[in-house]
Each structure stands twice: as C-alpha cells, then as structure tokens.
Amino acid sequence: MNFDKEFDASGLSCPLPIVKTKKALVDMESGQVLKVISTDCGSVKDMQAFADQTGNTLLSTTEEGGKYIFMMKKK
C-alpha cells in the first residue's frame, strides 16, 4: 500500500505510539496516508480507538515479524 509518511514507534510503550501518531498527522494533508510501525501489542486496539474517536480512517492493520503496521488515512 502506498503511503505519504512513515512513523516508526518501535520500542515505545503506551501512550507514546498514539500521542506521537497524532503529532505525525499534524503536518499532513487530508487524505494522505501515514504508515505507523509499532511493537506495542496494546496499540492494535488503541490505534483503532484513536481512529474511531478522531475521525481518521484506519485502512489496515497487519503484523509482520512481531511488528504491527498501521495505515492511517488523515481526516
């Protein structure tokens, strides 16, 4: 999947993946896609909850070798 920006949150624990994802989205344009990489298993549910509450769209969640990859489309 294509993306416009990548944020690697590997090694970070709650709440940093979410708080820094929000920061990464700030200077992006509506419709652009942010790829987030996380090693925190809690971020799977958190990222969905973040999308639900902020109006951004979580396009996909995948797992690759212990890392979670999220594709977040900015509102």
């Binding site: 624990s13 709650c14 709440p15 979410i18 708080v19 929000k22 973040f50 902020t54």
Partner: protein, 156 residues
C-alpha cells in the same frame, strides 16, 4: 460536534502516581480532548522544572512488585528509596515508557493546561520560580469553571 473535555486532579507526587495524570492527559489531548490538570498538595511536585526528586518507595506500598520479597524493616533502611527509584526508572526505560519529563512536555505541546493550587503553594511555601513557566495559579472555583463542563473528571 463539540470538543470533549477532561479534567484531572493530581494530588500525588511519587513516581508511580505521577504517571497516570500525564498519560491520561496526553492521550486525551491526542484524541482531541480539551484537557486541564489541577495540581494540588503533593501533586505540585510534578510541576517542578527538575523532576529528579520525584521518587518511589516500597515502604507502605505493599502492592509494588519487588524482585525479591523485602521485609518492612529492610525497606526503611537509608538508600532504599533511591534504589527503588533507580530500579523503577530503569524498568520504565527498558519497556519504552516515556520519562515524566517527556510526557509532561507532550502534554504542554498538546495544549494541556496546568493549574497549580495557589493555596497549597502558599501552604508549603513553594517558590514559584522552581516550577515550569506554563502554569496558571488558581483555586478550586477557577478549576470548577472548567471541570463543571467536562465529560470526564478524574481524581488521582
């Protein structure tokens, strides 16, 4: 949709109890909440420029997981508090948990408003110059002006 609001009353100044207000505030701000934290009593310690005196003690904290069981008589020995604090900070860093300073900065960056209880500042004769700059000083009524309209209000 109107902006949701959250208010937190932070009353504790130990390392373990310093985390919840900053974690919840920074997360809520990331979710788009308008957030205020009212720091009162020992919670005021979390507003110091230098947070190195924020410590954790196993004493009177029986729920704290210890690597080895430690009798209270040992917990009270000199240096135990510093050792427990050092170990906790190492554990936090190892697990990728942000430092208090980083979480506090993230809160400020996200426009979380910090209010310091003026009465407690006077009571403990704290020097305001030792606190960070982004603090407003006020009392309970000032806080209720915001807290009364919140969706979530927590006491920590």
């Amino acid at each position: 949709m109107t902006t949701k609001k959250m208010a937190i009353i932070a009353t504790k100044g130990t390392l373990d109890m310093a985390y919840p207000p900053f974690i919840l505030a920074s997360t809520a701000a990331a979710l788009g909440y308008d957030v205020q934290i009212f720091f009162t009593f020992y919670g005021l310690q979390l507003l110091r420029k230098d947070l190195s005196d924020v410590k954790i003690s196993p004493l009177a904290n029986p729920a704290m997981p210890m690597p080895v069981p430690m009798p209270v008589m040992v917990q009270m020995l000199p240096g135990m508090e510093s050792m427990a604090t050092m170990m906790m900070k190492q554990k936090l860093a190892k697990h990728g948990v942000a430092s208090l300073e980083e979480l506090r900065d993230l809160c400020l960056e996200a426009d979380v408003k910090f209010i310091a209880c003026q009465m407690t500042v006077d009571l403990f004769e704290f020097d305001k110059s030792e606190f960070i700059d982004n603090v407003e000083y006020g009392g309970a009524s000032m806080f209720f002006g915001f807290a009364g309209e919140t969706d979530i209000c927590l006491f920590v």
